[in-house]
Structure formats: C-alpha cells, structure tokens
C-alpha cells in the first residue's frame, strides 16, 4: 500500500485497525486503518467532515470505538477510560486549543504535568522550548494572543513527555510568523523522537513538515504516501481535497 513498507520495517508507535466510530446514530469512521511510525510526523489530510478530528478523539478515548483496535506500542487503548489514555503516553492538542482559559499559564502547565506526575525538570524543558511563556506564567491564559495560546496548548501537552503527540490544526487562524514558529516546533519535536499525528488543511504545511500523508475520506484512510512521492506528484492532493 505505501512505498515505505517495502523498505526496512520501522517500529510502529501507534496502530489503528478497522476502527468504527459513531456520534449517536451517525457513523463517522468506517473501518479506519492507520499506522504511525516511531519518530515520524504523519499528516492526516482531507476535507472538512472526513473524520480527521474524530480519529484523534477516538485515540484519546473521547469518542468510543465501537469496533476495531487502537494499539500504542503493545497496549490496547480502546478499552481504557478516557482519562487513562494520556497516562499511557498520548498527548492531545485539540482543535481551537481548548485551554483552561480562566486559569493562568502556570496552572495550565501544572495540569499537563499532573497527568503523568512529571516534575520541575519537565516543566523547565517545556518552558525552554517556549521561552515566551516563561514571562507570562501568571497571566490568564485566555488573554494571550492566538499564537501564544497555541504555544501554551502545545506546552501543556508536552508536559506529559508523550510518546505520541496528536496535533489538530495547530496553525489554524495564526499569523504567518507564528505558523512558522509552530512548524519549527513540530520539527524540533520530531528530532527529539516524538511521534506526531498532525491534522492539517494547508498543503504547504503538509509538504514542508510531514514524513508521510494519509488521505482521509468518508471516515476511511484511502491511501498513505511518502511526502517525497507527493512532492514529485501532487495529483493525490487534488484528488482528495480538490485544491492544489
């Protein structure tokens, strides 16, 4: 299916197979399959309503999986209550950031640290990654600028020292300089060995930071391709999204 599988087998960080998810009676995911390799950035690409966000929520246990499995390393996640999933090592940066807006920056970070009982050292590392936040620790997070809020949402997630990071449209609504900064961070994290699933709508973002791209359509993973293939022949992008 993918060009990559033919080569050296890579360790799998997260494997989703045959996943069915519903919102009430409406089926959103239809037997979705997805493999995230260790240390890669896998981009989920597709139209609005294709099931990208639902896939991330299903991994977090926030939308129950009716059929199928989600395995993190050797651990099955589908049976876990939602609050156990982050403890297993998956961190989530939701769409629209979803900060605890009325709490301070420091309190948001504290909540991240509490999830896996991380201490001062992790806090320092995360703040070193986003030095801007260090000056805003006592500020109410809802009063930060959009870019700063996105940084805080990522910082809060990184406080878990996750094996797998889920990023849902992290650059949505940000100004270009901020977008560059967020992308830089994603690349830095990959260099640190974090495996990332990135939901993204912008083609340029996908081409610049993804290792592989999965095209999601009608709740199915139609195709997963290496980003080099896509750079050489971007026709797939047009096929699934209708933009180029």
């Amino acid at each position: 299916m993918t060009g990559m599988n033919a080569g050296v087998p890579e360790a799998e960080a997260l494997v989703i197979s045959g996943l069915d998810c519903f919102y009430g009676e409406v089926q959103i995911l239809h037997g979705l399959d997805l493999v995230l390799h260790e240390g890669e950035v896998l981009c989920l690409f597709g139209r609005n309503g294709a099931g990208k966000t639902t896939t991330l929520k299903a991994i977090m246990g926030l939308v129950p999986a009716r059929v199928g499995s989600i395995r993190l390393g050797g651990k099955e996640l589908t049976g876990l209550p939602a609050h156990e999933v982050p403890k297993a090592g998956v961190a989530y940066v939701p769409q629209g950031r979803r900060l605890f807006a009325e709490m301070t920056v420091a309190e948001n970070i504290e909540i991240g640290l509490m999830a896996r009982r991380k201490g001062k050292a992790v806090r320092e590392n995360v703040l070193d990654l986003f030095p801007l936040l260090r000056q805003r620790l006592r500020q109410r997070s809802g009063t930060l600028s959009g870019g700063e809020q996105q940084m805080l949402a990522m910082a809060r997630a990184l406080c878990l020292e996750p094996q797998v990071l889920l990023l849902d449209e992290p650059t949505e609504g940000l100004m270009p300089s901020m977008i560059a900064k967020i992308r830089e961070t994603v690349v830095t994290l990959r260099d640190m060995g974090v495996s990332t699933i990135l939901v993204e709508q912008r083609v340029d973002a996908v081409l610049s930071i993804a290792d592989r791209v999965s095209f999601i359509e009608n709740g199915r993973n139609r195709e997963t391709v290496d980003v080099e293939e896509l750079r050489a022949d971007p026709s797939a992008v047009r096929r699934y999204v209708g933009v180029g």
Partner: protein, 293 residues
C-alpha cells in the same frame, strides 16, 4: 429601642442568615458549576444534616457541646456519603443529562423527605446550642452562639476558597468545570471528580444545617426555604462564582434580616425574588458570573 440599635440587631440577624445561606448556596453553586447539574434535592441534604444533628446529640447526651461537636463532624459525613451513593446510583447512570438530572433530583427530594417523615416524624425538635453565653451590648444582649455561627461559616468559606484556588484538588475541580472533555485528555478522572463534588455540595449544606439547628429546630420540611434562597443567591451571584455566591448571600441575608424586622418577611422575599428577575433580565450570567463561552 432606638433606630440605631434596632438596625444593629437586624443586621446581626441578617449576618447569621447570610452566613448559613452562603455555605448552603456554595454547595449548590459548586455542583452546578462543575457538573452542570441543577440539584433540586439540595435542600433535603440540608434537612438531613439538621435531622441527623438532632439524632446524634440525642444519642450522645452529656454536655450539649459534646453532642454538638460530634454532630458537626458526623452528620455532614453521613450526608456526604448518602449524596455520593445517590450520585453513583442515579446521576451517573443518567450521564449527567441536564434535563434528566432535574427530574431525578426532584425524585430524590421526595424520597429523602418522606424517609425523614417516616423515621423522624412530623415534629420540630430543638438541638441545644453548645454554649449559651450572651454578649451584653449597651442596648441588648446577643447570643454568643449566633456570632460563632457567623465566624465558623466565614472560616469554612475561606477554607473552601483556599482549597479551590491553592490546591491540586481545586485545580482539578476548576479544570473539570471549564472543559470536562479536555480535562479527561489530561488524565483527570472527571467521573470521580463529579462524585466528589456532589458529595462536597451536600456536606456544605449539612454543615450549614448543623450550625443553624440550635437556632431554628429540625423539621422534615425545613429544606424548602434554603433551597429557594440558595437558587436566588446562585442566580444573583453568578453560577460557579465563589465570590458572587458570597456577595449575593450577604445581600440577600442582610436585606432579609433588615426588611423582615422593619417591615415584613414577605416583603423581604418579594424583593429578593424581584432582584432575581432583574438580574435574569439585565445580567443573565449573574453579577460575578462570566458569560457562556
């Protein structure tokens, strides 16, 4: 008695009402704020606290202070336990659906009330205050116990505020309140937080009841007024706002004390209800609440 001392007496009575009301309303406000559950049975937890206080002081006997202190500790714990069981057996199974929980807590109200009637009876029974010291002011003597109620309540409110703002438990509760889905994504067991908050709300109501019962007697229908007044306080103050709850409790308690004494208790209720209507029309989120996001 001249106007000045008369006003002072009314204000003191108002402060006692405010103190007990603030505790009760805080319980209701926490439950709504964190769980989005309108707990119509809140007043019955208050009543249970008072009835159990009577049962405990009667069982222990001896010096009134001994029985009272035991009641102040044991009664809220039992009420909290009952609330926790009710939460697990009923609210959780309804998945905290806002409409269903209103109907369910109405049911809980009647069940608790009728159980109290069956086992405790229709009589109003007094509980002896732990001490009967009277403070002599130049114009009148005033019950030292009533002043201690104000002090105890103030202490508990400060303690609750400290827990909410300075501890991890408070952080977890606030995170659940703002965004329960994201809270879960950060390892917070929202389900257990809900159970704890519902029990805590009932505990606060029960403490308030134990404090008031040496002044006003235990009766199986005594939960209705605190429920109504708590709703008034919570609506005026803003749901989920601790500061708003305390300010509104002071406002309602003081105006109730003063207007009741100079005019009539009915007028006090009319004004409080009118205030609620005004707040709902002009500032639906309450005086200190934040608008829905």
């Amino acid at each position: 008695m001249h106007f000045g001392p008369h006003l002072l007496l009314a204000a003191l009575e108002g402060l006692v009402t405010s103190a007990v009301l603030a505790l009760t309303a805080l319980g209701l406000s926490l439950v709504f704020g964190v769980m989005r559950v309108v707990n119509v049975a809140h007043g019955e937890f208050f009543m249970l606290g008072a009835v159990l206080a009577w049962a405990i002081t009667t069982a222990i006997g001896g010096h009134p202070a001994l029985g009272f202190l035991a009641a102040l500790v044991i009664s809220p714990l039992i009420v909290g336990g009952i609330a926790l069981v009710a939460e697990r057996l009923v609210l959780r199974r309804l998945d905290y659906n806002p409409e269903a929980t209103i109907v369910a807590t109405i049911g809980m109200l009647y069940i608790i009330q009728q159980l109290a009637l069956t086992f405790y009876g229709p009589e109003a029974r007094p509980v002896e205050p732990p001490f009967t010291y009277r403070i002599l002011l130049p114009w009148f003597g005033y019950s030292g116990y009533k002043l201690s109620v104000i002090a105890t309540s103030a202490l508990l409110l400060v303690a609750t505020w400290l827990v909410l703002t300075r501890t991890r438990i408070g952080l977890v509760m606030r995170a659940t309140q703002y965004d329960s889905e994201t809270a879960q994504a950060f390892g917070i067991p929202v389900d257990r937080v809900y159970g704890g908050v519902f029990a805590l709300g009932a505990v606060l109501a029960a403490i308030a009841a134990v404090l008031i019962v040496p002044i006003s007697q235990a009766h199986y229908l005594m939960g209705q007024d605190p429920l109504l007044l708590s709703f008034i306080v919570v609506i005026i103050g803003g749901l989920g706002s601790l500061r708003g709850t305390i300010v509104a409790a002071l406002l309602i308690g003081m105006s109730d004390g003063i207007i009741s004494m100079f005019f009539s208790p009915t007028l006090a209720k009319i004004i409080a209800t009118l205030l609620v209507a005004m707040v709902l029309v002009f500032r639906p989120q309450g005086l200190f609440g934040t608008a829905a996001r």
